[in-house]
């Protein structure tokens, strides 16, 4: 079977959904052919196929973009809105948090808001402080939104399809450093259900709970540690919120140890919620405290050695695992 990159996977999923449902349309800055098919080429080729009403290149107006997506969703369509970089969600937070997330609830279920907000970010690209943040915790903290991020191309295809199907708002976070990752193409119609984690690697000594690009680090560390006789299980959440609690707790009950890992800064991050919940629910199985790894609590720096020092690295992960299993 052919391999596809994550970029292709996302493009295929959107293309397929647009072909299947005339209510699916995209809007965002630079998304149409005239502007080059999206900064990261995710919508490349689609405006030629579906026209400029269904691939709407917008002004630089994040509030208007998300507001339009919300309104169109209330009228029964399934918009996919692109916020070019995740840091810019600050500009349209009102539309996401006060409107998209709450209109189902506040209307007593009458006006669900099925929108997908695609956005991209990632540390390690040299974009500096205002273009690199992982802000998933902001959204995970708001009831009424799904927060999704793929760690490989096949999942990207399946999660995007499921996100477009979902009858609620989805924040779909794409890590720039993952766009080039290749997987075997799972083929048309492939869906990865929201809210289902993947056991990316089985192990018995410790569970790493992570998502997005850091899944790659976790898998790489797990492979290295295998040689030293430490067996690491890697859980890829895929959906960060609401997350697959059953899979996480089952894994921790099995291994007795847990480490949460994410690129977002550590304080008040999703790792804190995961750790607290694991502690409460798996206390009897735990052989030690749940450990947390996240980014440094500062803005993402520009100089590449600083940026590399900022981001959790494999050495940190190895050190924490060894400390946890008592082999440091």
């Amino acid at each position: 079977m052919a391999e596809i990159t994550m970029t292709q996977a996302l493009n295929l999923a959107i293309d397929e959904a647009m072909a299947d449902d005339p209510g699916v349309f995209c809007l965002g800055e630079d998304v149409a052919a005239k502007q080059g098919g999206g900064v990261f080429k995710i919508t490349s080729g689609l405006s030629e196929k579906y026209g400029e009403n269904r691939i709407r290149a917008t002004p630089i107006s994040e509030t208007a973009i998300i507001g339009a997506a919300v309104g169109a969703a209330l009228a029964g369509q399934r918009p996919i809105a692109e916020i070019m970089l995740m840091n810019f969600v600050g500009v349209c937070m009102d539309q996401i948090v006060n409107h998209a997330a709450k209109l189902r609830f506040m209307s007593g279920g009458q006006t669900p808001c099925p929108i997908v907000i695609r956005t991209t970010t990632g540390v390690g690209v040299g974009f500096g402080g205002q273009h690199s943040d992982m802000l998933e915790a902001w959204f995970a903290h708001v009831a009424g939104i799904h927060v999704v991020t793929p760690s490989n191309a096949a999942d990207a295809r399946g999660l995007m399809r499921a996100s477009i199907d979902a009858n609620d708002p989805v924040i779909f976070i794409e890590n720039i450093l993952c766009y080039g990752l290749k997987s075997e193409d799972p083929g048309p119609g492939y869906r990865v259900p929201l809210g289902k984690a993947a056991v990316a690697r089985e192990g018995s000594d410790i569970s790493i709970i992570t998502y997005g690009r850091t899944v790659l680090d976790a898998l790489s560390v797990a492979a290295d540690l295998e040689k030293e006789g430490i067996s690491v299980e890697v859980i890829d959440l895929r959906t960060i919120a609401p997350y697959d609690e059953a899979t996480v707790l089952a894994s921790v009950r099995k291994t007795g140890r847990a480490l949460t890992l994410h690129e977002a800064v550590r304080p008040f991050g999703t790792g804190a919620e995961l750790a607290a919940n694991i502690q409460e629910k798996c206390w009897d199985s735990l052989k030690g405290p749940v450990r947390r790894i996240g980014g440094t609590f500062s803005a993402v720096p520009f100089a590449s050695h600083l940026e590399q020092a900022w981001i959790p690295n494999k050495a940190d992960i190895v050190a924490q695992i060894k400390a946890s299993v008592g082999k440091d």
Partner: protein, 326 residues
């Protein structure tokens, strides 16, 4: 009648009168209930602005969409939300439009076309664009009207939405109810341009300021904007000059509103003016009174019903957060 006034036919006048009085009687009733201590909820008075909402709603078709604000009682009742459901929601009852989970500031009733009532100033305009975009995408011929205050015109979303609507020629009508105040801040203390409508020119869109107390100005202006939108010619901004004759919300202090100005504005009260127009059109006092009596009776019954209605079950807090998928 203004010399350049466009004539409105008798049926339409009667329609506007009925809607206006529905808004006014609802407002009076709400204030009475609050004063009597029978209910204790936030209520944003629409006294002085009744005609604007009523005439605007009369310019729409039944299935057109509306987005309004916490001060949306006028749009909601004039567009035709079943009033028992409206009162139920305002009193937080299970029988309300939103099962008591929205409340006075968040009334939604898609069947009536009331798609969003927002408590966040200025945030309705971008959403109205989206409703209009959906209509444009699927060719359903609907128009979306969004109502907001003068204060909202200074929010970023206002400007983003105006530009986007004009760019795509969306079938949307922006209705600014310039009631001269944004909470405690008078118009001149928040905006230095003479009016809001002139901003439309900056986006390439028609903009007009009308006397919101004159039915012969409000209705034709909104109707023209609605027709234009329906013809596919794009959005318009209509600014209706009116006056919030009470504090920001009912019971709030309004000492910052100069009494002389209040007195002056009382002379502009849209209700006696509308009544005069009706009489000029050979409606009789008796006919007009009997319409109001009918509305009062309907409202009284709806309020009794709402007061007696059950509260939502506590389990409702867990429902409608996300779609329940089993």
């Amino acid at each position: 009648m203004a010399a350049n006034a466009k004539e409105i036919d008798r049926d339409k006048l009667l329609d506007i009168y009925t809607r206006t009085m529905k808004v006014n009687r609802t407002d009076e009733k709400f204030r009475a209930l609050l004063m009597q201590g029978k209910v204790a909820v936030m209520y944003y008075c629409v006294r002085g602005q009744e005609l604007v909402s009523a005439a605007a709603m009369a310019a729409l078709e039944k299935d057109d969409y509306v987005v309004c604000t916490y001060r949306g009682q006028g749009e909601q009742t004039a567009k035709g939300i079943p009033i028992e459901k409206w009162w139920g929601e305002c009193l937080g009852k299970a029988t309300g439009t939103c099962k008591g989970k929205g409340g006075t500031m968040h009334i939604t009733d898609p069947e009536t076309g009331i798609m969003v009532t927002t408590g966040v100033v200025g945030s309705g305009l971008p959403i109205a664009n989206g409703l209009a975009m959906a209509s444009q995408n699927n060719g359903d011929g609907r128009v979306t009207l969004v109502s907001f205050g003068d204060g909202a015109a200074n929010i970023g979303g206002f400007h983003e939405a105006m530009n986007m609507a004009q760019l795509y020629k969306l079938p949307v009508v922006f209705l600014c109810q310039n009631n001269r105040y944004g909470e405690h801040t008078a118009y001149a203390d928040h905006t230095d341009s003479p009016n809001i409508a002139s901003r439309a020119a900056g986006y390439g869109m028609p903009g007009v300021t009308v006397d919101g107390n004159n039915v012969h100005e409000v209705y034709p202006a909104v109707k023209e904007a609605v027709d234009r939108a329906r013809r596919g010619e794009g959005p318009s901004l209509v600014e209706a000059m009116c006056y919030r004759m009470m504090g920001h919300f009912f019971g709030s202090d309004f000492s910052y509103m100069p009494p002389e100005h209040l007195a002056e504005m009382a002379a502009e009260d849209p209700l006696p003016k509308l009544r005069k127009v009706m009489l000029e059109h050979q409606f009789t006092e008796e006919e007009l009174d009997s319409i109001v009596d009918g509305i009062n009776a309907e409202i009284d019954a709806a309020v009794e019903h709402a007061l007696a209605a059950p509260l939502p079950d506590v389990s409702e807090i867990y429902k409608d957060v996300l779609e329940e998928v089993n």
